[in-house]
Amino acid sequence: MRNPLRPLTLLLLPFVLAACASTRPASRDGGEREEEVTPGQMVMVVGDLPNLIFLGQSRRDAKLTMVAAGVPNYTSITAVTSLAPPPGLGYYSPRTGVENNYARFTAYLYAYNLPADNDFHVILGDTPVFTPNVTKLINIEVSGRPDGADVVFKAVRNQFLAKIGNPVAMAHGTYTCMAVPIALTVGGGPFWDVSHPNGGSGTSSCYGGTPVKTSNGWELHPVTSVQ
Protein backbone atom coordinates (compact mmCIF):
# COMPACT_ATOMS: atom_id res chain seq x y z
CA MET A 1 0.00 0.00 0.00
CA ARG A 2 1.32 3.44 -0.89
CA ASN A 3 2.24 5.60 2.12
CA PRO A 4 0.40 8.96 1.74
CA LEU A 5 3.10 10.75 3.74
CA ARG A 6 5.87 9.69 1.36
CA PRO A 7 5.94 12.89 -0.78
CA LEU A 8 6.15 14.94 2.42
CA THR A 9 9.87 14.40 2.76
CA LEU A 10 10.53 15.86 -0.66
CA LEU A 11 8.20 18.77 0.06
CA LEU A 12 10.33 19.66 3.08
CA LEU A 13 13.48 19.96 0.99
CA PRO A 14 12.72 23.38 -0.58
CA PHE A 15 12.13 24.90 2.87
CA VAL A 16 15.44 23.59 4.17
CA LEU A 17 17.26 24.86 1.06
CA ALA A 18 15.56 28.26 1.33
CA ALA A 19 16.52 28.60 4.99
CA CYS A 20 20.14 27.84 4.15
CA ALA A 21 20.16 30.23 1.20
CA SER A 22 18.93 33.11 3.36
CA THR A 23 22.19 33.09 5.32
CA ARG A 24 24.90 33.92 2.78
CA PRO A 25 28.21 33.02 4.37
CA ALA A 26 31.37 34.84 3.26
CA SER A 27 32.95 33.14 0.27
CA ARG A 28 35.27 30.25 0.96
CA ASP A 29 38.49 31.42 -0.67
CA GLY A 30 40.28 31.44 2.65
CA GLY A 31 40.06 35.20 2.74
CA GLU A 32 43.06 35.62 0.45
CA ARG A 33 41.36 37.12 -2.59
CA GLU A 34 38.31 38.72 -1.09
CA GLU A 35 38.91 41.88 0.91
CA GLU A 36 35.55 43.01 2.14
CA VAL A 37 32.28 41.65 3.33
CA THR A 38 29.11 43.17 1.96
CA PRO A 39 25.78 44.10 3.55
CA GLY A 40 23.49 41.12 3.94
CA GLN A 41 26.36 38.68 4.25
CA MET A 42 26.55 36.45 7.31
CA VAL A 43 29.95 36.33 8.97
CA MET A 44 31.23 34.22 11.82
CA VAL A 45 32.26 35.59 15.18
CA VAL A 46 35.59 34.08 16.26
CA GLY A 47 37.45 34.00 19.55
CA ASP A 48 40.90 32.78 20.65
CA LEU A 49 42.45 35.46 18.42
CA PRO A 50 46.11 35.03 19.41
CA ASN A 51 46.04 31.32 18.65
CA LEU A 52 44.31 31.13 15.27
CA ILE A 53 46.15 29.04 12.69
CA PHE A 54 46.82 30.27 9.15
CA LEU A 55 44.26 28.73 6.80
CA GLY A 56 45.32 30.26 3.47
CA GLN A 57 46.85 28.46 0.52
CA SER A 58 48.36 31.06 -1.83
CA ARG A 59 52.18 31.15 -1.39
CA ARG A 60 51.63 29.49 1.93
CA ASP A 61 55.26 28.70 2.71
CA ALA A 62 56.38 32.22 1.80
CA LYS A 63 53.71 33.75 4.04
CA LEU A 64 54.86 31.63 6.93
CA THR A 65 58.55 32.44 6.57
CA MET A 66 59.72 35.40 8.63
CA VAL A 67 62.69 37.41 7.41
CA ALA A 68 65.47 38.07 9.89
CA ALA A 69 65.20 41.43 11.61
CA GLY A 70 68.37 43.48 11.33
CA VAL A 71 69.35 46.71 9.67
CA PRO A 72 66.30 47.53 7.57
CA ASN A 73 66.68 47.68 3.80
CA TYR A 74 63.48 49.74 3.51
CA THR A 75 62.40 52.44 5.96
CA SER A 76 59.23 53.82 4.36
CA ILE A 77 56.03 52.53 2.83
CA THR A 78 56.97 53.80 -0.62
CA ALA A 79 60.38 52.13 -0.44
CA VAL A 80 58.48 48.84 -0.32
CA THR A 81 55.58 49.60 -2.66
CA SER A 82 57.90 50.93 -5.40
CA LEU A 83 59.97 47.76 -5.60
CA ALA A 84 59.86 45.90 -8.89
CA PRO A 85 57.56 42.89 -8.61
CA PRO A 86 59.56 39.68 -8.55
CA PRO A 87 59.33 38.00 -11.97
CA GLY A 88 57.65 34.68 -12.47
CA LEU A 89 55.97 34.33 -9.11
CA GLY A 90 53.17 31.78 -8.89
CA TYR A 91 50.74 30.39 -6.38
CA TYR A 92 53.38 28.12 -4.86
CA SER A 93 56.52 30.31 -5.03
CA PRO A 94 58.74 30.58 -1.95
CA ARG A 95 60.13 33.95 -0.82
CA THR A 96 62.51 35.27 -3.43
CA GLY A 97 64.88 38.19 -4.10
CA VAL A 98 63.87 41.40 -2.31
CA GLU A 99 61.24 39.49 -0.38
CA ASN A 100 64.09 38.23 1.79
CA ASN A 101 65.05 41.76 2.84
CA TYR A 102 63.76 43.52 5.92
CA ALA A 103 61.50 46.58 6.11
CA ARG A 104 60.85 48.65 9.19
CA PHE A 105 58.97 51.92 9.33
CA THR A 106 56.57 54.01 11.36
CA ALA A 107 53.09 54.56 9.96
CA TYR A 108 49.49 55.16 10.98
CA LEU A 109 46.85 52.50 11.47
CA TYR A 110 43.61 53.34 9.65
CA ALA A 111 41.71 50.04 9.61
CA TYR A 112 42.04 46.32 10.19
CA ASN A 113 40.10 43.15 9.66
CA LEU A 114 40.37 39.41 10.15
CA PRO A 115 39.69 37.46 6.95
CA ALA A 116 38.87 33.78 6.97
CA ASP A 117 42.53 32.77 6.51
CA ASN A 118 43.16 34.21 10.02
CA ASP A 119 45.79 36.77 8.98
CA PHE A 120 45.00 40.23 10.30
CA HIS A 121 44.93 42.73 7.43
CA VAL A 122 46.33 45.95 8.82
CA ILE A 123 45.97 49.00 6.59
CA LEU A 124 48.67 51.57 7.25
CA GLY A 125 49.54 54.91 5.69
CA ASP A 126 52.21 57.55 5.94
CA THR A 127 50.05 60.51 7.05
CA PRO A 128 48.46 61.00 10.49
CA VAL A 129 45.03 61.15 8.85
CA PHE A 130 44.13 59.30 5.66
CA THR A 131 43.98 61.69 2.72
CA PRO A 132 43.02 60.30 -0.73
CA ASN A 133 45.72 60.71 -3.38
CA VAL A 134 48.18 61.92 -0.76
CA THR A 135 48.55 59.08 1.71
CA LYS A 136 50.73 56.16 0.63
CA LEU A 137 49.13 52.93 1.80
CA ILE A 138 50.30 49.43 2.49
CA ASN A 139 48.61 46.33 3.82
CA ILE A 140 50.70 44.54 6.40
CA GLU A 141 49.60 41.09 7.46
CA VAL A 142 49.92 39.78 10.97
CA SER A 143 49.90 36.16 10.02
CA GLY A 144 47.97 33.26 11.43
CA ARG A 145 50.21 30.79 13.26
CA PRO A 146 51.83 28.07 11.16
CA ASP A 147 50.77 25.43 13.68
CA GLY A 148 49.56 24.97 17.23
CA ALA A 149 53.09 24.71 18.62
CA ASP A 150 54.26 28.09 17.32
CA VAL A 151 55.18 30.83 19.78
CA VAL A 152 56.80 33.37 17.40
CA PHE A 153 53.80 34.26 15.26
CA LYS A 154 51.57 34.19 18.32
CA ALA A 155 53.78 36.79 19.99
CA VAL A 156 53.34 39.14 17.01
CA ARG A 157 49.57 38.57 17.06
CA ASN A 158 49.57 39.53 20.72
CA GLN A 159 51.60 42.65 19.93
CA PHE A 160 49.00 43.68 17.38
CA LEU A 161 46.02 42.82 19.58
CA ALA A 162 47.46 44.98 22.34
CA LYS A 163 47.49 47.92 19.92
CA ILE A 164 43.80 47.56 19.13
CA GLY A 165 42.52 47.20 22.69
CA ASN A 166 43.00 43.46 23.20
CA PRO A 167 39.65 42.32 21.79
CA VAL A 168 38.83 38.69 22.50
CA ALA A 169 36.25 38.26 19.70
CA MET A 170 35.86 39.57 16.16
CA ALA A 171 33.56 39.05 13.21
CA HIS A 172 35.46 37.57 10.26
CA GLY A 173 35.99 39.99 7.39
CA THR A 174 34.45 43.15 8.84
CA TYR A 175 36.83 46.11 8.80
CA THR A 176 37.18 48.19 11.95
CA CYS A 177 37.91 51.86 11.27
CA MET A 178 40.29 53.81 13.45
CA ALA A 179 38.61 57.12 14.20
CA VAL A 180 41.92 58.39 15.52
CA PRO A 181 44.74 56.62 13.66
CA ILE A 182 47.42 55.18 15.92
CA ALA A 183 51.13 55.51 15.11
CA LEU A 184 52.81 52.10 14.85
CA THR A 185 56.35 50.98 14.12
CA VAL A 186 56.26 47.75 12.17
CA GLY A 187 58.85 45.33 10.84
CA GLY A 188 58.53 42.52 8.33
CA GLY A 189 59.37 41.08 4.99
CA PRO A 190 58.21 42.65 1.72
CA PHE A 191 55.90 40.22 -0.02
CA TRP A 192 54.29 40.24 -3.44
CA ASP A 193 50.72 39.03 -3.11
CA VAL A 194 49.85 37.13 -6.28
CA SER A 195 46.17 37.29 -5.28
CA HIS A 196 46.31 41.13 -5.37
CA PRO A 197 48.88 42.13 -8.03
CA ASN A 198 46.95 45.31 -8.73
CA GLY A 199 46.40 46.19 -5.09
CA GLY A 200 42.90 46.57 -3.73
CA SER A 201 43.69 45.43 -0.22
CA GLY A 202 41.87 47.62 2.25
CA THR A 203 38.36 48.88 2.57
CA SER A 204 35.69 51.23 1.36
CA SER A 205 33.79 50.94 4.63
CA CYS A 206 35.64 53.61 6.62
CA TYR A 207 35.70 57.39 6.55
CA GLY A 208 32.31 57.66 4.92
CA GLY A 209 33.07 55.15 2.19
CA THR A 210 36.27 56.63 0.81
CA PRO A 211 38.35 53.80 -0.71
CA VAL A 212 41.34 53.15 1.54
CA LYS A 213 42.96 50.62 -0.77
CA THR A 214 46.47 49.68 -1.79
CA SER A 215 47.82 50.39 -5.25
CA ASN A 216 49.73 47.18 -5.93
CA GLY A 217 50.55 43.76 -4.54
CA TRP A 218 53.34 44.75 -2.14
CA GLU A 219 52.71 44.01 1.52
CA LEU A 220 54.70 43.23 4.60
CA HIS A 221 53.92 39.58 5.14
CA PRO A 222 54.45 38.20 7.66
CA VAL A 223 54.90 41.04 10.10
CA THR A 224 57.73 40.33 12.51
CA SER A 225 56.95 43.06 15.03
CA VAL A 226 54.30 45.69 15.81
CA GLN A 227 55.20 48.37 18.33
Binding site: R6, T9, L10, L12, L13, V16, L17, A19, C20, T23, P25, V37, T38, P39, G40, Q41, M42, V43, M44, V45, V46, G47, D48, K163, I164, G165, N166, P167, V168, A169, M170, A171, G173, T174, Y175, T176, C177, M178, A179, V180, I182, S204, S205, C206, Y207, G208, G209
Partner: protein
Protein backbone atom coordinates in the same frame (compact mmCIF):
# COMPACT_ATOMS: atom_id res chain seq x y z
CA UNK B 1 8.61 -5.84 -3.04
CA UNK B 2 10.33 -3.11 -1.02
CA UNK B 3 11.85 -0.32 -3.14
CA UNK B 4 15.54 -0.07 -2.14
CA UNK B 5 15.58 3.64 -3.11
CA UNK B 6 12.76 4.51 -0.76
CA UNK B 7 14.95 6.00 2.07
CA UNK B 8 16.86 8.15 -0.45
CA UNK B 9 14.87 11.41 0.00
CA UNK B 10 15.54 11.32 3.72
CA UNK B 11 19.24 10.69 3.17
CA UNK B 12 19.40 13.65 0.78
CA UNK B 13 17.72 15.87 3.35
CA UNK B 14 20.12 14.98 6.16
CA UNK B 15 23.26 16.87 4.93
CA UNK B 16 21.26 20.06 4.44
CA UNK B 17 19.80 19.88 7.92
CA UNK B 18 23.27 19.32 9.37
CA UNK B 19 24.73 22.19 7.33
CA UNK B 20 22.10 24.58 8.62
CA UNK B 21 22.49 23.38 12.20
CA UNK B 22 26.24 24.11 12.10
CA UNK B 23 25.69 27.87 11.66
CA UNK B 24 24.28 29.29 14.86
CA UNK B 25 22.50 32.51 14.04
CA UNK B 26 22.39 35.15 16.75
CA UNK B 27 19.14 34.95 18.76
CA UNK B 28 16.17 36.83 17.41
CA UNK B 29 15.26 38.98 20.41
CA UNK B 30 15.89 42.16 18.41
CA UNK B 31 18.98 42.88 20.46
CA UNK B 32 17.19 44.34 23.47
CA UNK B 33 17.98 41.62 25.99
CA UNK B 34 21.10 40.12 24.54
CA UNK B 35 24.28 42.16 24.84
CA UNK B 36 27.00 40.14 23.18
CA UNK B 37 27.55 37.73 20.38
CA UNK B 38 29.84 34.81 21.09
CA UNK B 39 32.42 32.88 19.12
CA UNK B 40 30.84 30.52 16.61
CA UNK B 41 27.76 32.68 16.01
CA UNK B 42 26.89 33.96 12.55
CA UNK B 43 26.05 37.66 12.40
CA UNK B 44 24.83 39.84 9.56
CA UNK B 45 26.78 42.67 7.97
CA UNK B 46 24.64 45.83 7.69
CA UNK B 47 25.04 49.19 6.03
CA UNK B 48 23.09 52.45 5.66
CA UNK B 49 23.96 53.04 9.30
CA UNK B 50 22.60 56.60 9.66
CA UNK B 51 19.19 55.59 8.34
CA UNK B 52 18.41 52.39 10.22
CA UNK B 53 14.99 52.42 11.87
CA UNK B 54 14.44 51.29 15.48
CA UNK B 55 13.30 47.67 15.51
CA UNK B 56 12.91 47.08 19.25
CA UNK B 57 9.71 46.52 21.19
CA UNK B 58 10.47 47.04 24.87
CA UNK B 59 9.29 50.55 25.91
CA UNK B 60 9.49 51.48 22.22
CA UNK B 61 7.61 54.77 22.61
CA UNK B 62 9.80 55.87 25.53
CA UNK B 63 12.99 54.93 23.68
CA UNK B 64 12.05 57.03 20.69
CA UNK B 65 11.00 60.09 22.70
CA UNK B 66 13.75 62.63 23.23
CA UNK B 67 13.59 64.69 26.40
CA UNK B 68 12.93 68.37 25.78
CA UNK B 69 14.52 69.84 28.89
CA UNK B 70 17.40 72.16 28.01
CA UNK B 71 19.12 72.56 31.38
CA UNK B 72 20.79 69.39 32.62
CA UNK B 73 19.58 68.00 35.94
CA UNK B 74 22.40 65.41 36.02
CA UNK B 75 26.03 66.17 35.11
CA UNK B 76 27.82 62.92 35.96
CA UNK B 77 27.37 59.24 35.21
CA UNK B 78 26.79 58.42 38.86
CA UNK B 79 24.13 61.12 39.16
CA UNK B 80 22.14 59.06 36.64
CA UNK B 81 23.02 55.56 37.79
CA UNK B 82 22.26 56.55 41.39
CA UNK B 83 18.66 57.46 40.66
CA UNK B 84 15.81 55.43 42.13
CA UNK B 85 14.34 53.09 39.52
CA UNK B 86 10.85 54.06 38.40
CA UNK B 87 7.97 51.63 38.45
CA UNK B 88 7.73 50.82 34.77
CA UNK B 89 7.06 47.83 32.54
CA UNK B 90 7.48 46.72 28.92
CA UNK B 91 4.99 49.30 27.63
CA UNK B 92 5.55 52.30 29.94
CA UNK B 93 6.08 55.79 28.52
CA UNK B 94 8.83 58.04 29.91
CA UNK B 95 8.08 58.93 33.48
CA UNK B 96 9.42 61.01 36.38
CA UNK B 97 13.23 61.43 36.30
CA UNK B 98 13.24 60.02 32.79
CA UNK B 99 11.96 63.37 31.55
CA UNK B 100 14.98 65.26 32.88
CA UNK B 101 18.14 65.97 30.90
CA UNK B 102 21.60 64.57 31.63
CA UNK B 103 24.75 66.05 30.11
CA UNK B 104 28.28 65.00 31.01
CA UNK B 105 31.77 64.39 29.68
CA UNK B 106 32.97 60.78 29.60
CA UNK B 107 35.24 58.35 27.72
CA UNK B 108 34.14 55.98 24.99
CA UNK B 109 35.44 52.43 25.57
CA UNK B 110 33.37 50.26 23.24
CA UNK B 111 30.29 50.19 21.03
CA UNK B 112 28.15 47.78 19.10
CA UNK B 113 25.05 47.69 16.94
CA UNK B 114 22.42 45.19 18.17
CA UNK B 115 19.57 44.07 15.97
CA UNK B 116 17.17 46.73 17.22
CA UNK B 117 19.47 49.25 15.43
CA UNK B 118 20.31 51.29 18.52
CA UNK B 119 24.05 51.81 18.95
CA UNK B 120 25.11 50.70 22.42
CA UNK B 121 27.85 53.08 23.50
CA UNK B 122 29.72 52.06 26.63
CA UNK B 123 31.26 55.05 28.34
CA UNK B 124 32.92 55.67 31.68
CA UNK B 125 34.30 58.40 33.89
CA UNK B 126 38.03 57.60 33.72
CA UNK B 127 40.36 58.10 30.72
CA UNK B 128 41.02 54.36 30.61
CA UNK B 129 38.70 51.68 31.91
CA UNK B 130 39.72 50.43 35.34
CA UNK B 131 37.73 47.56 36.78
CA UNK B 132 36.31 48.38 40.19
CA UNK B 133 37.04 52.10 39.75
CA UNK B 134 35.38 53.32 36.56
CA UNK B 135 31.68 54.15 36.73
CA UNK B 136 30.02 52.95 33.54
CA UNK B 137 26.87 53.75 31.66
CA UNK B 138 25.40 52.55 28.39
CA UNK B 139 24.14 55.43 26.26
CA UNK B 140 22.00 54.42 23.32
CA UNK B 141 22.05 56.26 20.03
CA UNK B 142 18.62 55.20 18.94
CA UNK B 143 17.43 53.85 15.64
CA UNK B 144 15.16 56.30 13.85
CA UNK B 145 11.48 56.20 14.83
CA UNK B 146 10.56 56.19 11.15
CA UNK B 147 12.03 56.89 7.73
CA UNK B 148 10.96 60.55 7.69
CA UNK B 149 12.86 61.40 10.86
CA UNK B 150 15.77 63.84 10.68
CA UNK B 151 16.45 64.41 14.40
CA UNK B 152 17.52 60.90 15.38
CA UNK B 153 19.42 60.55 12.13
CA UNK B 154 21.45 63.65 12.99
CA UNK B 155 22.48 62.11 16.31
CA UNK B 156 23.42 58.87 14.55
CA UNK B 157 25.62 60.86 12.20
CA UNK B 158 27.21 62.65 15.17
CA UNK B 159 28.11 59.29 16.69
CA UNK B 160 29.31 57.77 13.42
CA UNK B 161 31.64 60.74 12.91
CA UNK B 162 33.22 60.07 16.30
CA UNK B 163 33.99 56.45 15.40
CA UNK B 164 35.45 57.11 11.95
CA UNK B 165 32.31 57.16 9.82
CA UNK B 166 32.11 53.43 9.11
CA UNK B 167 29.62 52.49 6.40
CA UNK B 168 29.14 48.87 7.45
CA UNK B 169 29.13 46.93 10.71
CA UNK B 170 28.49 43.39 11.89
CA UNK B 171 25.45 43.15 14.12
CA UNK B 172 26.21 42.59 17.78
CA UNK B 173 30.01 42.58 17.67
CA UNK B 174 31.58 45.06 20.08
CA UNK B 175 34.39 47.29 18.82
CA UNK B 176 36.96 48.16 21.46
CA UNK B 177 38.59 51.57 21.62
CA UNK B 178 42.31 51.12 22.24
CA UNK B 179 42.59 54.80 23.12
CA UNK B 180 39.26 55.87 24.66
CA UNK B 181 37.88 59.03 23.11
CA UNK B 182 36.64 61.89 25.29
CA UNK B 183 33.05 62.78 24.42
CA UNK B 184 30.28 64.97 25.76
CA UNK B 185 26.89 63.35 25.67
CA UNK B 186 23.34 64.50 26.42
CA UNK B 187 20.13 62.58 26.70
CA UNK B 188 17.31 61.36 28.85
CA UNK B 189 17.86 58.97 31.75
CA UNK B 190 16.01 55.74 30.98
CA UNK B 191 15.31 52.65 33.04
CA UNK B 192 15.80 49.61 30.82
CA UNK B 193 13.39 46.92 31.95
CA UNK B 194 15.33 44.37 29.89
CA UNK B 195 18.49 45.06 31.94
CA UNK B 196 17.30 45.90 35.44
CA UNK B 197 20.36 44.25 36.92
CA UNK B 198 22.71 45.98 34.48
CA UNK B 199 24.94 43.86 32.26
CA UNK B 200 25.00 46.17 29.28
CA UNK B 201 28.49 46.23 27.82
CA UNK B 202 31.02 43.63 26.92
CA UNK B 203 33.59 41.10 28.04
CA UNK B 204 35.32 41.12 24.65
CA UNK B 205 37.58 44.16 25.13
CA UNK B 206 40.76 44.78 27.07
CA UNK B 207 41.65 41.10 27.26
CA UNK B 208 38.21 39.96 28.35
CA UNK B 209 37.77 42.05 31.48
CA UNK B 210 34.12 42.55 32.47
CA UNK B 211 33.06 46.00 31.36
CA UNK B 212 29.36 45.95 32.17
CA UNK B 213 26.88 48.32 33.71
CA UNK B 214 25.64 47.78 37.26
CA UNK B 215 21.96 48.58 36.83
CA UNK B 216 19.30 49.44 34.28
CA UNK B 217 19.98 53.19 34.00
CA UNK B 218 21.00 54.41 30.56
CA UNK B 219 20.76 57.56 28.53
CA UNK B 220 18.18 56.61 25.94
CA UNK B 221 17.78 58.13 23.49
CA UNK B 222 20.91 60.23 23.21
CA UNK B 223 20.06 63.82 22.18
CA UNK B 224 23.59 64.76 21.20
CA UNK B 225 27.08 63.28 21.26
CA UNK B 226 30.18 65.33 20.53
Amino acid sequence: MRNPLRPLPLLVLLPFVLACASTRVAPQDRGEREEEVTAGMMVMVVDDLPNLVFEGLSRAAAKTTMVTATVPTYTTITAVTGLTPPSVDFYSPRTGDENNLATFGAYLYAYNLPKDNDFHVIIGDTPTFTAGVTNLINVEVSGRPDKTDTVFKAVRNQFLAIIGNPTTMSYGTYTCMPLPIAITVSGGPFWDVSHKGGGSGTSTCYGGVQMKTINGWELHPVNSIQ
